[in-house]
């Protein structure tokens, strides 16, 4: 039989409190910023929202940013935004296509070997761009797993530039296979997206952007749920998305 004393020491009768410590307790803030997924930090959110507002103002005034086909963005659920890449402006423009409230759920995949290579870049990429560190040289599969996990949570947006790097000429390069492997056999929608004028406004190698017009054209979402799991399907997805992005030039109907 339990003595009254035992009952008292067993607590208040209610269930024990459940503590759920943060996963990155033994890491410094910078280490946490460099990792992924990142936990929500009020201070980081505040900085990102403020910088997002400034960024929009700058893009709309200096680059007269125009966003077409915004109605094609799926309202809820996670999806991948697939775009051509020729400038540092690209990710900034694409992020600006979303509402400020959704900003913290939009993750441009960024080359870890560049954007997370030192302390300053890590802080900048994580705080202001909300970048997902993507290891394009090694651990490619591991990075894809991180992307898949991100997309399994509803409401997240992943921005991917399947060319893998900025095009120097402004022409669209061949899409790498990662995007195909990510999307094959899943119901996650892929939204093709064309960036125009970014390469002229801020080409690779230039320090300061020029005040040229930039346009974002968003196409209709597509998914590759029913394709067979073969290498050919992966290539097919890449070709399809590349074609879709190419066709989204101005003058054509984005739908």
């Amino acid at each position: 039989m339990e003595s009254p004393d035992d009952q008292r020491s067993a607590g208040t009768g209610a269930d024990e409190w459940k503590y759920r410590p943060s996963a990155g307790l033994d890491q410094s803030l910078l280490q946490r910023l460099g990792g992924f997924p990142r936990e929500p930090e009020p201070l980081v959110y505040a900085l990102r929202s403020a910088s997002g507002l400034l960024l929009r103002t700058w893009l709309r005034s200096y680059h007269r940013l125009q966003i077409l086909g915004r109605e094609n963005l799926p309202g809820e659920g996670s999806f991948v935004l697939v775009a051509n890449h020729s400038s540092h402006l690209d990710a900034l423009c694409l992020v600006s296509a979303f509402s400020l409230a959704r900003l913290h759920r939009v993750f441009p995949a960024a080359a870890a070997d560049y954007f997370f290579s030192n302390m300053a870049r890590t802080a900048f990429s994580a705080v202001f761009i909300n970048a997902l560190p993507f290891h394009r040289e090694v651990h490619g599969e591991q990075s894809l797993t991180v992307c898949t996990a991100l997309l399994e949570n509803p409401g997240n947006v992943l921005i991917i530039f399947p060319e893998g790097t900025r095009s120097i000429t402004g022409e669209i390069d061949r899409f790498r296979s990662g995007i195909g492997r990510l999307l094959l056999g899943t119901s996650i929608p892929a939204v093709p997206c064309r960036l125009e004028g970014a390469s002229a406004a801020w080409p690779k190698g230039r320090k300061i952007p020029r005040p040229k017009k930039v346009r974002v054209i968003i196409g209709r979402p597509r998914s590759y749920e029913t394709m067979p799991a073969t290498r050919e399907s992966v290539r097919e997805i890449c070709r399809d998305l590349e074609e879709a992005v190419r066709l989204l030039a101005t003058g054509r109907d984005p739908r």
């Binding site: 503590y19 410590p21 943060s22 307790l25 033994d26 410094s28």
Partner: protein, 315 residues
């Protein structure tokens, strides 16, 4: 407390020289141990580097004056509370953590402001009354949000977070409003660290009996008593820090630092052990989190402050 007053303060000069020589001496000892005896003591060097950065920072804030000290204490309280929130999981509730953080800044503002009635620096009345309003506000949050699930735990953690890590610790900042600020602040900071180190050394040398086996298995009765003995002697050695103190006040100071410091340490220990973590964070390399460093001060500062206020008032 102004920069000029700080630079002409003999107490500050003494403590700066004392701590400076201790750091240089400790560095030499570590150097000899590493180079002459060839021992690998990299973790100790890491802790030492932490001190090399922290000590000048603390002295710098004290030289910079009253407002700087209060702001510095406020920043430590904010970081400390953040660690507590991250460790307990409270940080997922942005309302609770947000209100507590604003309240901690509010405590600092009240410490900096002057009493509108008697125009002395530091609004003591509101400083003491603030927990009433903050606890009230925290209790109202679940009502306003129309939520019940887990809210008792959140509110309780937030109340503890504010009252202990925010408000009780803020008494250290409020000491900057007193007329013997340099002596009080520098003595407390120094004595609390000495107490910690003494407990560690006595424990290592003579430690046989566990002090609190469940809470902190590495602490011993011998270490604790040794630290208390050192802390009781220290006020007499450094009595020029508070020349107006009589025997009673010197003894009380020794008891507050000697007992309170160790209780503060054990308090954080039981919190960590209940949650099941080792360190509160990783902000200071070689020291763990902010709370692992300031744990003793949180407990000692309010006890010392109210002892001083009882006998001598604030100004």
């Amino acid at each position: 407390m102004t920069v000029d007053a700080a630079l002409s303060s003999e107490i500050l000069r003494f403590y700066a020289a004392l701590v400076g020589s201790i750091i240089v001496l400790a560095g030499l000892v570590l150097f000899v141990v590493t180079v002459v005896f060839g021992k690998d003591i990299r973790p100790i060097w890491r802790t030492y580097r932490g001190w090399l950065i922290m000590t000048p920072l603390v002295v710098g804030f004290i030289i910079a004056g009253r407002t700087a000290v209060i702001v510095g204490v406020c920043l430590l309280a904010l970081f400390g509370f953040r660690e507590f929130a991250r460790a307990t999981g409270l940080y997922r509730d942005w309302w609770m953590t947000g209100v507590v953080m604003v309240a901690i800044i509010g405590v600092a503002a009240v410490s900096i402001a002057s009493d509108p009635r008697i125009r002395t620096p530091g609004w003591y009345g509101l400083f003491m009354a603030l927990p009433v309003y903050v606890v009230g506000l925290l209790l109202v949050i679940p009502v306003l949000r129309n939520r019940t699930r887990g809210q008792l735990q959140s509110t309780a953690l937030a109340v503890l977070g504010f009252v202990y890590f925010g408000w009780m610790f803020a008494h250290l900042g409020f000491l900057a409003n007193t007329s013997h600020a340099y002596g009080y602040l520098l003595y407390l900071l120094f004595a609390v660290e000495v107490n910690d180190i003494a407990a560690f050394c006595f424990g290592k040398l003579f430690g046989r009996h566990k002090l609190r086996s469940e809470v902190s298995p590495n602490k011993t009765v011998e270490g604790s008593l040794g630290a208390l003995a050192v802390s009781l002697v220290l006020p007499w050695l450094l009595s020029f820090s508070f020349p107006h103190f009589g025997t009673l006040q010197l003894v009380l100071t020794g008891l507050i630092v000697g007992i309170g410091g160790q209780l503060g340490d054990l308090t954080i220990s039981f919190i960590k052990r209940d949650i099941g973590i080792k360190d509160m964070g990783a902000v200071i390399p070689g020291h763990g989190g902010v709370l692992d460093r300031i744990d003793s001060l949180i407990f000692v500062a309010p006890l010392f402050f109210h002892m001083v206020r009882w006998f001598y008032g604030i100004a």
